[in-house]
Symmetry: C2
């Protein structure tokens, strides 16, 4: 690999002149000099050594991206949007890490970022406990978190970008109510994340609003692991069996997310229940896969591309200007009506 000195020699200029053209400081440069430098650069196929630039400037065009598991299609979708936006719109590469929702893994990732002088990091769907985040921020990281709300009241050093989870669950529940369901369930996996808590509140709010608070219940199952891809669907299957066996089961359920809904769909079928004839389901996420299930899943779509763009803009923007204060960004979801919701059957209504 050729260095800046090689280029300088070939163009018969000093290294600083080369550095100047590299960094766009060409206003008062001789046109001929500039041409010679460009010519030398392409002749040598020269690329600046990022490590050297970085050592000098303390910056590097990279971002960290932490997900519970990239095998989860929802996180894969978000990650794709984030990486594409970081790369195409801001010229940043992204370092990916799977955390399996493990605090030590998160901490380890932050430490490595700091060691690599990568100053921006995006964290997807972490657990409620945020203390190791704050300590990472103190070490200099610019952090934006997805799918977690700011802890109310506490001034935070982190941007929070999320969908209005309360509203998402409320819409899903209201959709069921609109179809005449009077006995409702919110199906969730037992790990507590902030977004789950909010969805539960939205669920109950919609039930309350419809005067159905007494017949609205949380149904939760414990996952072996907490990072939710195949496991999330497993929980759905198990829960479906439990629900099917319950003679007082709800006529309509909202699933924590689409993956859980997929498991529910499979589990109900196995238990001999038809969706939506025997029970209605609405998911949350709007994964492309939700259009393919049998029946196609009614779900709440999250505006993922827009959220991803905001996330990336925030990290990059705040790295460039430390004066910008962290803030909160809430996006509104929307209902996709498909075929997993119908009016409750007479027998179902009687049972409930």
């Amino acid at each position: 690999m050729s260095t800046i000195a090689d280029v300088a020699a070939r163009a018969s200029v000093s290294v600083s002149t080369v550095s100047n053209v590299l960094n766009g400081r060409v206003e008062r440069m001789g046109a001929e000099t500039l041409a010679r430098v460009h010519q030398a650069i392409s002749a040598l196929d020269y690329r600046p050594n990022r490590a050297a630039q970085q050592l000098k400037t303390g910056r590097t065009p990279m971002l960290g991206l932490l997900v519970p598991s990239i095998a989860n299609p929802m996180y894969g979708y978000i990650a794709r949007e984030i990486e594409t936006s970081a790369q195409e719109r801001h010229g940043h590469r992204v370092v990916l890490g799977n955390t399996y929702r493990n605090k030590d893994k998160e901490t380890g990732f932050f430490e490595d970022l700091v060691a690599h002088q990568i100053r921006g990091v995006i964290v997807i769907s972490s657990l409620v406990d945020e203390r190791h985040f704050e300590s990472a921020v103190r070490r200099g990281l610019v952090m934006v978190s997805y799918d977690r709300r700011a802890t109310p009241g506490s001034a935070t050093a982190i941007d929070h970008v999320s969908v209005d989870n309360f509203e998402a669950a409320r819409m899903a529940t209201a959709h069921l109510v609109a179809y005449g369901h009077r006995s409702l369930g919110f199906v969730t996996a037992s790990g507590r994340t902030m977004s789950r808590d909010e969805k539960m509140r939205g669920f109950f709010a919609a039930a309350e609003q419809a005067g159905l608070r007494a017949s609205a219940h949380i149904i939760d199952g414990s996952a072996q692991s907490q990072f939710g891809d195949s496991e999330m669907a497993e929980v759905g299957m198990q829960l479906a069996a439990r629900i099917a066996a319950d003679r007082t089961r709800p006529t309509g359920v909202v699933a924590l997310n689409d993956l859980l809904a997929f498991g529910l769909l499979a589990g109900f079928r196995e238990a001999g229940l038809s969706v939506p004839e025997d029970i209605s389901i609405v998911g949350i996420d709007g994964l492309f896969l939700s259009a393919l299930t049998n029946p196609p899943l009614s779900t709440i779509r999250l505006p993922v591309p827009q959220m991803a763009r905001t996330i990336v803009e925030r990290v990059i923007g705040r790295m460039a200007d430390p004066a910008i204060k962290p803030s909160e960004f809430l996006f509104t979801p929307s209902l996709i009506e498909r075929a997993s919701v119908a009016r409750p059957s007479k027998s179902a209504r009687l049972r409930a």
Copy 2:
């Protein structure tokens, strides 16, 4: 951030002594000196600056990982296994890039890796044309490719890790044959990748073997884009409509991959065809989602975790020892029998 000099000062030793302990050269070091250094390191919470190490040594514990689209659940799965293995077993972080199967994006990614002095790169399912790979290798990259076979005959500078695609398609087809199917289809999207060509060969080989060569057909649809996540399923849906309308349609089909099979499943249902009563399907990949479809999809499972481990070992191993020659690694897939395959119905047999 404290530097090595701060540590040295605090421990009252020279920087080279600190560097020695950092790099494990402690054999003939005074026990007391060593202790002082350790103590200073933890007192200052010191972490070596990777950029500086890298500038000096020319190495950095990172890998590049290129996928067509991380939103594709199969690539997400592979990526998770690769990242986890790179991190836990070898202490390397991974830089992720989506290529959308675009040559310029691939080339751009390679250039950035070189600029960052990242010397190892893993490429998933790229297109057939490999020339820009060879040129990246000449620039110093250690490359391992997944899901592409080496170009026969040509000595390559790239490791190739893949599943035996011929065998995968052969097994899938033989499974259909074993269930009595005499009219076979291989459903694929039209973009040509190496793995697709091999699967077709395996399909025909199994048909031939069963004396069914004349009634074995390729059914392909063109995708708008080539990186295959939601699009792949779309193609499946369209193709299903076309197949359903065809009075001479096969009684059993092998799908290029599970995602395509999901689209097929949805499309057949929409067209009023039942699986497996009216038509049997077998997928290829073994995604966890394939267990959740209605009916559950019979498919060919790829040994993803093992392949991922091999991939990572190869990059890291060859970076450490340039004398190691690139080679080819072929893994054997296995059949998962579920419910999307049954004996062809009488009417279906007559039709064909």
